[in-house]
């Protein structure tokens, strides 16, 4: 499912005295099956942006198209859209409400009209994917640790098998292993099922590792839009708007300053290892790129 945002604006409290322009002339085209990272300073409009993509917020100006259809057309099936676009909220508390974790995860697929058996199978599968310990399945979602709540919320959306999966800071509060496990699962979903994925994140390391494309938001506007390496090449400008490059970029610059011949555009640990070994002359000439 492809998405087009055409000159989208959004103003909170449009007619009131405290109006806030949260999105300012945003144009984006997201093709089917892409994994897109969205980064930006706090308050830059990321959550506002993604809430437009499942119809939760309605643009105060501009158009949004799903597979070419204008979602603000009167006969556009908005309800169906919500079942095809899964959104994991920034604060998991906003989407947990059932008596136990398992019922909570079953809620979505049941609501889509699946029978009990099928919904339960989907729920089991999703809970396994997010690494939820089995003994917590029948515990109240409100009696979980922060990271466990986060896992439950992600499972609830995965169980609906959406065509577009939007995750608003899904790894905030997850332990490092959990962060890696969940991002790997999501990457695998993209590769295996061709799901379109939008990941809002404050972790430069995570977006560098997993996404195909990065959209940088700054004060409600799109500041950069490109492949991770292109975007992180602007790391000085990113710092000025509250962001940064992945840590390895700084390491490589420090090495370059000390006279090592390293590629400063490497953005993941794996790439950094290679370029440092190369600079140290540890890789035989024949294997060099």
């Amino acid at each position: 499912m492809s998405i087009i945002l055409d000159h989208v604006n959004y103003i909170y409290g449009e007619d009131g005295p405290l109006a806030v322009k949260a999105l300012d002339d945003v144009c984006l085209q997201i093709p089917d099956g892409q994994f897109v990272g969205i980064i930006g300073h706090t308050g830059s409009g990321k959550s506002t942006l993604v809430q437009h993509m499942n119809g939760l917020l309605k643009a105060t100006g501009g158009h949004i198209y799903f597979n070419g259809e204008d979602i603000y057309d009167r006969d556009f099936p908005m309800k169906k859209l919500r079942s095809r676009v899964g959104l994991v909220f920034q604060y998991p508390e906003h989407q947990l409400f059932e008596v136990d974790v398992f019922s909570d995860v079953c809620f979505g697929p049941k609501n889509l009209g699946m029978d009990k058996k099928e919904a339960e199978l989907k729920a089991f599968d999703a809970l396994r994917k997010v690494g939820m310990p089995m003994e917590l399945y029948y515990q109240s979602p409100f009696e979980l640790s922060g990271g466990q709540k986060r896992r439950a919320a992600i499972a609830g959306v995965l169980a609906m098998a959406p065509e577009i999966l939007i995750l608003d800071e899904p790894t905030a509060g997850l332990d490092p292993k959990g962060r890696e496990e969940i991002l790997r699962q999501i990457k695998e979903l993209q590769v295996q099922t061709g799901m379109t994925i939008l990941l809002v994140s404050h972790s430069m390391e995570d977006v560098a590792e997993y996404v195909d494309r990065i959209v940088v938001m700054n004060k409600g506007r799109v500041m950069y839009d490109g492949a991770p390496k292109e975007v992180f090449a602007h790391y000085r400008e990113l710092e000025e708007v509250g962001l940064a490059a992945p840590q390895v970029t700084y390491i490589l610059h420090a090495l370059k300053d000390r006279g090592f011949d390293v590629d400063v555009n490497a953005t993941t640990t794996g790439e950094a290892v290679e370029t440092v070994l190369h600079a140290l002359g540890r890789i035989p000439e024949a294997f060099r790129p």
């Binding site: 930006g40 300073h41 706090t42 308050g43 920034q90 604060y91 008596v99 310990p133 515990q139 109240s140 009696e143 979980l144 640790s145 922060g146 990271g147 466990q148 986060r150 896992r151 800071e169 905030a172 509060g173 997850l174 332990d175 490092p176 292993k177 959990g178 962060r179 404050h202 430069m204 390391e205 710092e239 509250g242 962001l243 940064a244 992945p246 840590q247 390895v248 700084y250 390491i251 420090a254 090495l255 300053d257 000390r258 006279g259 090592f260 640990t269 950094a272 290892v273 440092v276 070994l277 140290l280 540890r282």
Partner: protein, 283 residues
């Protein structure tokens, strides 16, 4: 005796069904002994559900031990009459800055705590000023908290705690929702409080690199303290940390990977400078 001490601390959550019948127990903290000295900077790491928040909530008497004891500044937290003294001595800052800010204007928000404690108006203003200056937010004193960035809001929440003149601050994932700049600002402010004001700091985080300046790092696993040491001692043990579902700072990981490929580097490199110097030396 340390400013924060726990002895054989055990905490069990009792789970009940809708009728209120007991369904089971979760032992969230399991025989923890902790002794934090005044002025220390302590970091607590651990996988999701390992018991960090539960432990932290004992330090300002939000929770009371199921077994064992907790003392803050010599006061037993299970004794009802100490509860306000304890909360004033040990302030808490949580993950989500939006849930902690109540005032319409920054200085009002920061003054709220001391006002509740019955501090005189003149002193409230002094405290508000000094606290906002300590976290670098004084110029924003007349702003509306809603219009601040996440890192700024979080520093205002820290100032709110500081205004109560605590001896100790417990921060439970204070940077989880912040952008890289906000994260740096908050950590810098916390370090300054520790180094300049001598305030004891307990920092809970899932970002490994935020703990490299701590005096001691504790790693929790299933309610127990699994590792304890200086950041260098802890982050030298890459494989052990990975078993505990943790990680090391990216620079430490890079050094570790290079070492495995035969580059002569020491374990436990913590900063970009250290790595660059060590590599320059190995050439």
């Amino acid at each position: 005796m340390g400013i924060i001490r726990t002895k054989d601390l055990v905490y069990e959550y009792v789970r009940r069904d809708e009728e209120g019948n007991v369904e089971g127990f979760t032992t969230a903290v399991d025989k923890v002994d902790l002794d934090v000295q005044p002025g220390e900077f302590i970091a607590i790491l651990g996988h999701n559900g390992s018991g960090k928040s539960t432990l932290a909530k004992h330090i300002n008497a939000i929770l009371n031990p199921t077994e064992g004891s907790v003392w803050v500044d010599g006061m037993d937290t299970s004794e009802e009459e100490h509860i306000w003294d304890i909360r004033q001595r040990a302030g808490m800052v949580f993950q989500n800055p939006d849930n902690q800010i109540i005032g319409q204007v920054v200085e009002e928000d920061v003054g709220f705590g001391p006002e509740n404690m019955g501090v005189t108006t003149k002193e409230i203003w002094e405290r508000v000023e000094e606290s906002l200056k300590a976290v670098g937010m004084y110029e924003y004193r007349r702003h509306s908290p809603n219009k601040l960035s996440g890192g700024q809001k979080q520093r205002v929440s820290i100032a709110g705690v500081l205004a109560m003149h605590p001896k100790c601050i417990v921060l439970d994932e204070p940077t989880a929702m912040l952008d890289p700049k906000g994260r740096r600002e908050v950590i810098r402010a916390v370090r300054a409080l520790n180094e300049v004001e001598g305030i004891t700091v307990v920092l809970i985080t899932h970002y490994m690199e935020e703990t490299i300046h701590a005096d001691r790092v504790f790693v929790m696993d299933s309610g127990k303290i699994a590792m304890e040491g200086t950041p260098r001692q802890i982050f030298s043990q890459v494989e052990r940390l990975q078993e505990l579902r943790l990680d090391v700072p990216q620079v430490t990981l890079l050094a570790h990977e290079l070492r495995r490929k035969g580059v002569g580097l020491p374990e436990g490199i913590l900063t970009v400078e250290e790595l660059a110097d060590a590599l320059a030396g190995s050439r």
